[in-house]
């Protein structure tokens, strides 16, 4: 590579990144929108009509399905926001608050489906909690006939989503806190006589809200359109809209493509509508909140409420840990029946016997994750390096573009994108799956890496340049080593995102690329729980290894350089 060409190549990076993100989404949306209105010549839809919508509306459970979708989605989002705010408000002055990120990271890196599988076993009437309390406390010899998982109202689904969405929001808040002068403002508020939680809610929250607005919208979109968790924990007759769309997309009767596409587009409209409503709610909350703050009351219920929220977060955190623990126990169980709190017989046979079955998907998971992370890392580093070489810093529009994959329901574009892949003869290939993962990996990687990268002290680079180092050398010999820790952690986050992808893998892989997550969700429908346990544990393990590696590697590499072991 010549010195002359390089800046040009770098300058292309943002456009390339945006293209990789938006092209499949745009094509996919068109590919869903047209069939929603009857146009899909390949299966006989040659005129535009509303038949798909009519069939969707005629589905017996249509109203309930929409109600469940909105109900569970809004409830999850609202609870996640309340718990995350309350938690940060009441814990912010604890010394270990800064380490909270490190605590929730393993939960965040665990795929949704693994936690959902564990939670399903935890909560079932014949599940772990009931087993631990029976019969000595409950008197149950047989499990009670109560719906605690897959309940028609979707309570289990809301809980399952909260386990992951609350830690996610907390991490986003902790990140946003670094952007404002939290410590100073809190000190002033405390000096004015506000309790700790009150001070945080009144002085800090209004400042950081603009920065966590997009993450909250992402939570809304995700909760409304999630498929894998809903398949495991949600109601099934009727299911939420996203599950209904996926069910119809894969129906033997191809005529179901039309109502499926209509359902997917309706879901997109619901997401847009509810985010808009939330935006309106923000305005109201701002007015009310301003009055609340201006009134200057001290010692209100804020502190109690925040403590409650923290306790609830503690419960969800414990449930997450227990969920994975339950799966781990199952993976080494031989026989384990109600009401025994632990297996009657233990066995390593599940792991030995399943090794062949597990090894293939595990290998694919690692390869796809590594490729998607590697490509994303190159693109993001190129974008950031291009930015720091004096080209202007991207504005709010760029941030929205990054969030598009997290805001548009996956079902609304993945089917359309699949048709595109088939036409390109790429469906079912590893490349297609890597590309599909890239759509979701890129935003997370960029968002985790951008702040530390932008915080890099330019004087290091200037010093190196003044000593005669080329830009390339400055990048590789100075910047990367100093920023190695955040780069690796962002990589670990990206890898975890890839490991957790279900729908993207199924559609792009055309069902032929099996990862631990697709296998686990396929098995979730009822296969041997000992096997499900093994898959859930494997699903948890790989992202965890990546994360621990990201934390330990700089310390090992720079054992002799204290400054680079990284605490920034």
């Amino acid at each position: 590579m010549s010195m002359v060409r390089r800046p040009g190549v770098l300058r292309l990076a943002p456009a390339l990144t945006v293209g990789i993100l938006l092209l499949p989404i745009a094509a996919g949306l068109v590919g869903t929108l047209l069939p929603a209105f009857g146009y899909l010549p390949a299966i006989g839809g040659r005129t535009f009509n509303l038949d798909g919508w009519r069939r969707l509306a005629d589905y017996p459970g249509f109203g309930t399905s929409v109600a469940i979708t909105i109900g569970t989605g809004v409830l999850t989002s609202a609870l996640a926001v309340i718990l995350a705010f309350g938690c940060c408000a009441s814990l912010h002055d604890r010394p270990w608050m800064r380490r909270l990120g490190a605590w929730v990271a393993p939960i965040l890196s665990t795929p949704h489906s693994a936690i959902a599988l564990g939670l399903a076993f935890l909560l079932a009437p014949s599940g772990w909690i009931a087993r631990a309390l029976s019969p000595w406390l409950t008197g149950w010899i047989l499990p009670p006939d109560v719906a605690t998982v897959g309940d028609p109202a979707g309570v289990a689904l809301v809980l399952g989503l909260l386990l992951k969405e609350v830690p996610y929001l907390i991490l986003m808040i902790v990140g946003a806190l670094n952007q404002v002068q939290a410590r100073a403002h809190l000190a002033i508020a405390r000096a004015l006589g506000y309790g700790p939680a009150e001070a945080w809610l009144k002085a800090i929250l209004p400042q950081i809200y603009p920065q966590i607005r997009l993450p909250i919208y992402a939570v809304i979109a995700f909760s409304l359109s999630v498929v894998d968790v809903a398949l495991i924990l949600g109601p099934s007759n009727p299911p939420p809209l996203a599950v209904l769309a996926v069910r119809w997309f894969s129906d033997a009767d191809i005529q179901f493509y039309f109502p499926a596409a209509a359902a997917a587009i309706l879901l997109l409209l619901l997401v847009i509508g509810i985010i808009a409503a939330w935006r309106g709610f923000e305005r109201c909350a701002m007015l009310v909140g301003r009055r609340w703050i201006a009134r200057g009351g001290r010692g209100g219920i804020a502190t109690t409420a925040a403590t409650m929220a923290t306790l609830l977060f503690g419960v969800t955190f414990a449930l997450s840990v227990l969920a994975i623990a339950g799966m781990a126990v199952w993976s080494v169980a031989d026989q384990w029946r109600f009401p025994d709190a632990l297996p009657q017989a233990w066995s390593l046979a599940n792991w030995m016997r399943r090794f062949d079955g597990l090894a293939g998907p595990a290998w694919v998971t690692v390869v796809v994750g590594a490729l998607a992370t590697g490509v994303a890392l190159c693109l993001v580093l190129a974008c950031l390096e291009n930015e720091s070489r004096g080209h202007r810093r991207p504005g709010a529009a760029a941030l929205w573009i990054l969030y598009v994959p997290l805001l548009v329901p996956q079902v609304a574009f993945l089917f359309g994108a699949q048709v595109l892949l088939v036409r390109m003869n790429l469906d079912g290939t590893l490349a297609a799956v890597v590309w599909a993962h890239l759509i979701f990996v890129l935003p997370y990687l960029f968002l985790s890496l951008a702040d530390p990268w932008r915080a890099f002290d330019p004087r290091y680079a200037q010093t190196a340049a003044s000593l005669g180092a080329s830009r390339m050398r400055v990048f590789f010999a100075v910047k990367l080593p100093i920023l190695l820790r955040p780069v690796l952690i962002a990589g670990a986050v990206a890898f975890a995102v890839s490991v957790g992808q279900y729908l993207a893998t199924v559609f792009a892989g055309n069902g032929r690329v099996a990862t631990l997550t697709t296998e686990a969700v396929t098995l979730a429908a009822g296969a041997d729980r000992r096997v499900i346990g093994a898959y859930a544990v494997a699903q948890t393990l790989f992202p965890l290894i990546a994360y621990v590696g990201a934390v330990l590697l700089p310390a090992l590499l720079f054992a002799h350089r204290r400054g680079l072991r990284g605490h920034q």
């Binding site: 299966i43 459970g61 088939v422 032929r512």
Partner: protein, 399 residues
Amino acid sequence: MRVRTLAAAVALAALSVAVSAQNLDWNDIVAKARGQTVNFNAWAGDEKSNAFIQWAAQEVGRRYGVTLVHVKLKDTAEAVTRVVAEKAAGRNAGGTVDLIWINGPNFLAMKQQALLFGPFTQALPSYARVDTTTIRSNVIDFTIPVDGMESPWRRAQIVFVYDGKRVTNPPKSVAELLEWAKKNPGRLTHPSVRNFLGATFLKQALWELAPDPAALQRPATDDNFAAITAPMWTWYDALRPYLWRQGRQLPENGPAQRQLLNDGEIDMLVSFNPAEAAVSVHAGLLPDSVRTVVFARGTIGNTSFVAIPYNAAHKEAAMVVADFLLEPATQAHAQDFRQMGNFTVLDFAKLSPDEKRRFDELPKSPALPTNAELGTTVLEPHPSWMTRIANEWEKRYTK
């Protein structure tokens, strides 16, 4: 109508390939198959079947140099959709689905839309041993003539598995089942009616209760559907409040239902595999107190097949796999309840003594029904009944 023209063109193309397949010498097919990869699209909800396919993959790899890849499906319809999508995208050759575990409605859909390669079964040497006279489901798949477009590999018949510790006098008809459920509320369920097993549970009741069961062998019509199914719906309405979760929640499929029995949430389950109890006890998936009961007047049974899509990239290797699945040694291995426990599709009269001995030497289990207990196999109704029942059920009970 462009679509119909397309379908006709595809059908013609499939026909020409079929002719060449019939003319091909089996040795040529085996030679061509060597080195090919077969993407076997098969429902993957059952661990034992998955393990069997893994074993088959090793065997065909070793013996024929064919790489068998199990493309795991949640629902067979996914594979049909895939072939439809490929046809839609104009991929009429080099398709990604080589072999599908199929029967009934999915077979009908693919046969009607000319998405299948064949007839090919006459080219398979092992097909000569298939029971085509007493096991009618081997040649009539849900009332649809097979016409050599799919090759049988395993049989299914409705049985009920119950926990012998909790159920002493198991019901022997759907009417007795209702009485039992009333006495034991919340202790029986059935898979979702979207699932073939759940739909078959209703079909069993339909066959036992219908005023004219013979009508089920013809397509359902708007005129006769309501009258013929009315007694079945009356029965189900009476049963539903006594089902697990009052019937408002249903397990997605058979294995999920089995998990409920293992968890002690229910006492009895419907199964399509007569060896389900024996297989599951051996695998530690059910307590060893489970036993099997078959309804007195007979139960619905069918055959599972493998079919090759018209655009499959590796038809030769797919045929080699189809033939391998019919070899007596393979069938005996499949019938062993320590493996998969599937009753064979072969005719014992057509087997050599050596081949027959493989079946005689299979292990026994108290959870296994005898051939006499299995009784008469009732033929599957026309697929239109299942489709209509599923739709009607959705209309009645999805709220």
